[in-house]
C-alpha cells in the first residue's frame, strides 16, 4: 500500500495528499455526532453500543498532534493512554520502544489511536491522514481523539475493523482525565494482589481501576525519554512539563550507602556486646528482665538495626516502615534532648533530689497513719485484736527499715539522678521508662506489703476451702481432679472443725489488710501503666505516614473520585478522576509500628478472679517470660 512506504519514509505533516487512502471503509462515522433531539433523551431508542473509556493524562491535553500510546484493557473496555508520540516518527522505532517497555515492566503497550490538536478547520487534511495510520498500527478499537485549540472542544470516536453486527449502533467514548504524576506516585490501599513476577509475559490482572494505577506504575521505562530529547521517538507525558529531580535527594541516596554500612556495623557490635554479657551473670539478667528501660532500649536497637540494614526495601510497605521508624527515633531523640536541657538548666536536678527524700518520708508517714488506723477500729469494723496487732507491728517495722535505707541513700541521690537524667539523650521514651522504673523502686515497700498480704490471704482461702470440704465430709481427689466424699475419724473432724472456725473468724482482719494493700498496689500499677501507654504511643505512631498524608495526600490513596466536567450536548462525556486520600484513622491502622509488646495479659474477668483468690498479679509480662 502506498501508505506503508510513506510511513517508512518518516512522513511529515505537509506530506498528506489526496492519494492517502482513507481508513477502514465501513466504520467511518461523522466525527461530531449530531445532538439528539430534545425530549428524546429518555426515549427507549438509546444506542446500546459498547462504551469505551479512554483514560487521558491531563498533561497531554495541550500536546501537539501525534499517536496515542498506552494499554488496552479488554475486560473493562478501557484504553489507558500513557503518552503521545509526535511527528515525525518511524513506525519501526515506535514498535521497538514499545517492545523495550514491555520487557522492562511486563506491561503490554500498543499504539491505541491518534491525537489531533488543531486550529479550527486549518488542518483539515490531517484528518484522513491520521485515519490512514490505523492501517500501520492496527488496533481494535482505533481511537481518534481531537481537540480544537481555540474553542477547547473535544470530539472522539472509536472505530472497529469488524463492524458491529447490529447496524446503526455506535461505540460511545467516555473521556476520563487523570493526573499522570499523581497516579504514578500514589499507592492504593488495600494493595491489589498482583501475580507473580515470574509469570512470563502475563500483564497485570488487577481489577477495575487498580489496573490503571498498575499500568502507569509499570510503564516507568516509557517516561524516561521526552519530546525534548534527541532520541528517535519524541514523546509527551508528565515529564514534559519539566523533569523532576532534587539534588539533595540524589546526594542523600549516594551518601546513604556507606553511612548505613557504618551504622549497621556499630549496631551489630552493640548487640553482640549485649548478648554476650547478659546471659553470663544470673542476678544481672534477672534485673535486666525486670527493668522496663532495658526492654525499651532493646526495642530501639532492633528498630535501628532495621532502618540501617544494608538491604534495600522490597516493597513500598517496608519502605514506609523504615521511614516511620527513622522519623519516630529522630523525634524521640529531639524530645529527649529538650527534656535534658530543661532538666539540667537552673539546677532542677538538685531541686528534684532535694524534694525526693521528703516525699518518700511523707509517703512513709502516710502509710504509718494508715497502719495505725487499721490497728484501731477501721471504718467502725471490729478486728481481732491479737492478729491485728501482730500484722500491724510487722508492717510498721518493715516500713521503719525501708525509711532507714532511704535515708542512708539520701546523700547519693543527686548524683544518681544526674547520671540517670543523662539517659534522656537517648530518647524521651527511655527517660519515661526510667521514670517508671524509679517509681517501681521507690514504691518497693508497697509491693512487699502487697505480696505479704496476698500470700497470707491466699493461704487462708486455701485452708478455708479445704476445711470447708472436710466440714461437709468431702475431700479433693488429686488423682481424679474432683471432689469425692470421704469418711473422717472423729478426732480429724474435731481438729478440722476447730481450725475452720478459727480461720473463718480471722478472715475479716486478713481480708481488710489484703484489700488495703491491693488497692495501693493497683494505684502504683495504674500510674506505671499510664507511663507505659505514653511510651507505647511514641513508639508506635507512624509519623512519616501521617506527615505524608498531610502534605502529599495523593500518595496514600483509598480510592478514586470522579467529577463531571463541563458538558455540551453532542460532545463526549468528560470526567476528571482524582485521588481520594486515605482517612487519618486508616493511615494509623495500616502503618502502625509494632510496639514493645508489654501489654497486660489479663482480661478483666481473670483479673477479678485472681484478686478474689489472692493470687499475685503481674501486670506486665515481657516477651519470652515463662508463665507462672
Amino acid at each position: 500500500m502506498g501508505l506503508g512506504s510513506r510511513g517508512a519514509a518518516a512522513a511529515g505533516l505537509g506530506a498528506a495528499s489526496a492519494a492517502v487512502r482513507p481508513g477502514p471503509p465501513d466504520a467511518v462515522r461523522h466525527p461530531v455526532p449530531t445532538p439528539p433531539p430534545k425530549g428524546a433523551a429518555r426515549a427507549s431508542s438509546r444506542p446500546h453500543g459498547m462504551v469505551v473509556k479512554a483514560f487521558f493524562p491531563t498533561c497531554c491535553a495541550s500536546a501537539d498532534s501525534g499517536l496515542l500510546v498506552g494499554r488496552w484493557v479488554p475486560e473493562q473496555s478501557s484504553a489507558v493512554v500513557l503518552a503521545v508520540v509526535h511527528f515525525p516518527f518511524i513506525p519501526i522505532q515506535v514498535k521497538e520502544l514499545l517492545a523495550q517497555v514491555h520487557q522492562a515492566g511486563r506491561v503490554g503497550l500498543a499504539v491505541l489511536g491518534t491525537w489531533c490538536h488543531r486550529r479550527q478547520e486549518a488542518e483539515e487534511r490531517l484528518g484522513p491522514f491520521l485515519e490512514g495510520l490505523g492501517a500501520i498500527f492496527s488496533h481494535e478499537p482505533w481511537l481518534q481523539l481531537c481537540r480544537e485549540r481555540t474553542s477547547g472542544l473535544w470530539s472522539c470516536k472509536a472505530t472497529r475493523q469488524q463492524g458491529p453486527t447490529r447496524p446503526g449502533v455506535k461505540d460511545q467514548v467516555m473521556l476520563v482525565f487523570y493526573d499522570q504524576r499523581q497516579v504514578l506516585l500514589s499507592q492504593l490501599h488495600p494493595p491489589a494482589a498482583l501475580p507473580d513476577r515470574q509469570a512470563g509475559d502475563a500483564t497485570a490482572s488487577a481489577e477495575g481501576l487498580a489496573a490503571v494505577f498498575d499500568t502507569v506504575a509499570r510503564s516507568e521505562a516509557l517516561f524516561r525519554s521526552d519530546c525534548f530529547d534527541e532520541g528517535p521517538v519524541r514523546l509527551s507525558h508528565w515529564q514534559s512539563e519539566g523533569v523532576e529531580a532534587s539534588i539533595l535527594a540524589e546526594l542523600a541516596k549516594r551518601a546513604s550507602g556507606p553511612v548505613c554500612l557504618l551504622l549497621a556495623c556499630l549496631l551489630s557490635l552493640i548487640s553482640a556486646a549485649r548478648t554476650c554479657r547478659v546471659f553470663k551473670l544470673r542476678p544481672l539478667s534477672f534485673i535486666w528482665s525486670k527493668l522496663s528501660v532495658c526492654g525499651q532500649l532493646g526495642h530501639r536497637l532492633e528498630q535501628l538495626a532495621l532502618v540501617f540494614s544494608t538491604q534495600k526495601a522490597e516493597s513500598p510497605a517496608q519502605l514506609m516502615r523504615k521511614a516511620n521508624v527513622l522519623v519516630s527515633v529522630l523525634l524521640d531523640v529531639a524530645l529527649g534532648l529538650a527534656l535534658l536541657s530543661w532538666l539540667h538548666g537552673k539546677d532542677r536536678i538538685g531541686q528534684l533530689a532535694e524534694a525526693l527524700v521528703p516525699v518518700a518520708d511523707h509517703v512513709a508517714e502516710a502509710l504509718q497513719h494508715l497502719l495505725q488506723w487499721l490497728m484501731g477500729a477501721p471504718a467502725g469494723l471490729k478486728m481481732n485484736r491479737a492478729l491485728d496487732q501482730v500484722l500491724g507491728r510487722f508492717f510498721l517495722y518493715h516500713l521503719h527499715l525501708w525509711i532507714s535505707y532511704v535515708h542512708l541513700l539520701s546523700p547519693f541521690i543527686e548524683h544518681i539522678l544526674w547520671h540517670v537524667g543523662l539517659s534522656a539523650c537517648l530518647g524521651l521514651t527511655v527517660a519515661l521508662s526510667t521514670l517508671s522504673d524509679i517509681i517501681a523502686l521507690l514504691t518497693f515497700h508497697i509491693y512487699c506489703f502487697y505480696v505479704y498480704g496476698a500470700r497470707l490471704y491466699c493461704l487462708k482461702i486455701c485452708g478455708l476451702s479445704s476445711l470447708w470440704r472436710l466440714f461437709r465430709g468431702k475431700k479433693w481427689n488429686v488423682l481424679r481432679q474432683r471432689v469425692d466424699s470421704c469418711s473422717y475419724d472423729l478426732d480429724q473432724l474435731f481438729i478440722g472443725t476447730l481450725l475452720f472456725t478459727v480461720l473463718l473468724f480471722l478472715l475479716p482482719t486478713t481480708a481488710l489488710y489484703y484489700l488495703v494493700f491491693t488497692l495501693l498496689r493497683l494505684l502504683v500499677v495504674a500510674v506505671q501503666g499510664l507511663i507505659h501507654l505514653l511510651v507505647d504511643l511514641v513508639n508506635s505512631l507512624p509519623l512519616y505516614s501521617l506527615g505524608l498524608r498531610l502534605c502529599r495526600p495523593y500518595r496514600l490513596a483509598a480510592g478514586v473520585k470522579f467529577r463531571v466536567l463541563e458538558h455540551e450536548a453532542g460532545r463526549p462525556l468528560r470526567l476528571l478522576m482524582q485521588i481520594n486520600p486515605l482517612p487519618y484513622g486508616r493511615v494509623v491502622h495500616a502503618y502502625r509500628l509494632p510496639s514493645c509488646g508489654c501489654h497486660p495479659t489479663h482480661s478483666w474477668g481473670s483479673l477479678c478472679r485472681k484478686l478474689f483468690f489472692g493470687e499475685l498479679i503481674y501486670p506486665w509480662r515481657q516477651r519470652g517470660d515463662k508463665q507462672d
Binding site: V51, V564, H567, L573
Partner: protein, 188 residues
C-alpha cells in the same frame, strides 16, 4: 439537563432533589438538607451560657465564662465540620461505577466510589429506625467468593433520609442505567 423538585424527609423537613442528566449513561442526584437554623443555634448558645453563668455565680471563677465561650466556638466548628451535612450527591456512571459524596456545612466533602464490577444491584429496603419503619435506598455489593451472594449493603442518603416518593425517582433512574450495564456486560 437539570431539573429540581422538592420532597420531604422522614421527619417532615423540606428536601430539594436536583437531577442532572449529563448523558444517557451518566446521571447525578443531589439532595440538599435544610441549613442550620438561627433559632436552634441561638437556643443552644443561650443554654450553654446560662449554665456557665450559673456555675460562675456558684464558684466566682471567671475562667468558667471564658471556658464556656471556648466550648461554644469549638463545638460549633466541630458540628459544622464533622456533623452537619448540607448535601448528599449520588453520581452513577455507566460502566464506571457509583459515587456518593457528602458535603458538610464547612465545605468538607467526603466521597466514596464503588466500581461497577462490584455492584450487584440497587434496591429500596425497609428498616426499623427508632419508632418508625422507613425506606432507604441501598447498593448491594457482590461477594467475590460466592457468585450469588451479597458481601455488603451500602445505604445511600443516610443523613438526608428522604421518603419513598423521592427514593422511587432515584431508583428508577439507577435501574435504567444498571439494566443497560447488564445488557452490555451480557453481550459478547
Amino acid at each position: 439537563m437539570e431539573d429540581e423538585q422538592s420532597f420531604s424527609d422522614i421527619c417532615g423537613g423540606r428536601l430539594a432533589l436536583q437531577r442532572r442528566y449529563y448523558s444517557p449513561s451518566c446521571r447525578e442526584f443531589c439532595l440538599s438538607c435544610p441549613r442550620l437554623s438561627l433559632r436552634s443555634l441561638t437556643a443552644v448558645t443561650c443554654t450553654v451560657w446560662l449554665a456557665a453563668y450559673g456555675l460562675f455565680t456558684l464558684c466566682e471563677n471567671s475562667m468558667i465564662l471564658s471556658a464556656a465561650i471556648f466550648i461554644t466556638l469549638l463545638g460549633l466548628l466541630g458540628y459544622l465540620h464533622f456533623v452537619k451535612i448540607d448535601q448528599e450527591t449520588l453520581l452513577i456512571i455507566d460502566s464506571l461505577g457509583i459515587q456518593m459524596t457528602s458535603s458538610y456545612a464547612s465545605g468538607k466533602e467526603s466521597t466514596t466510589f464503588i466500581e461497577m464490577g462490584k455492584v450487584k444491584d440497587v434496591v429500596i429496603n425497609e428498616a426499623i429506625y427508632m419508632q418508625k419503619v422507613i425506606y432507604y435506598l441501598c447498593i448491594l455489593l457482590k461477594d467475590p467468593v460466592e457468585p450469588h451472594g451479597i458481601s455488603q449493603v451500602v445505604p445511600v442518603f443516610q443523613s438526608t433520609k428522604p421518603r419513598l416518593d423521592c427514593l422511587i425517582e432515584v431508583y428508577r433512574s439507577c435501574q435504567e442505567i444498571l439494566a443497560h450495564q447488564k445488557a452490555a456486560s451480557a453481550s459478547p
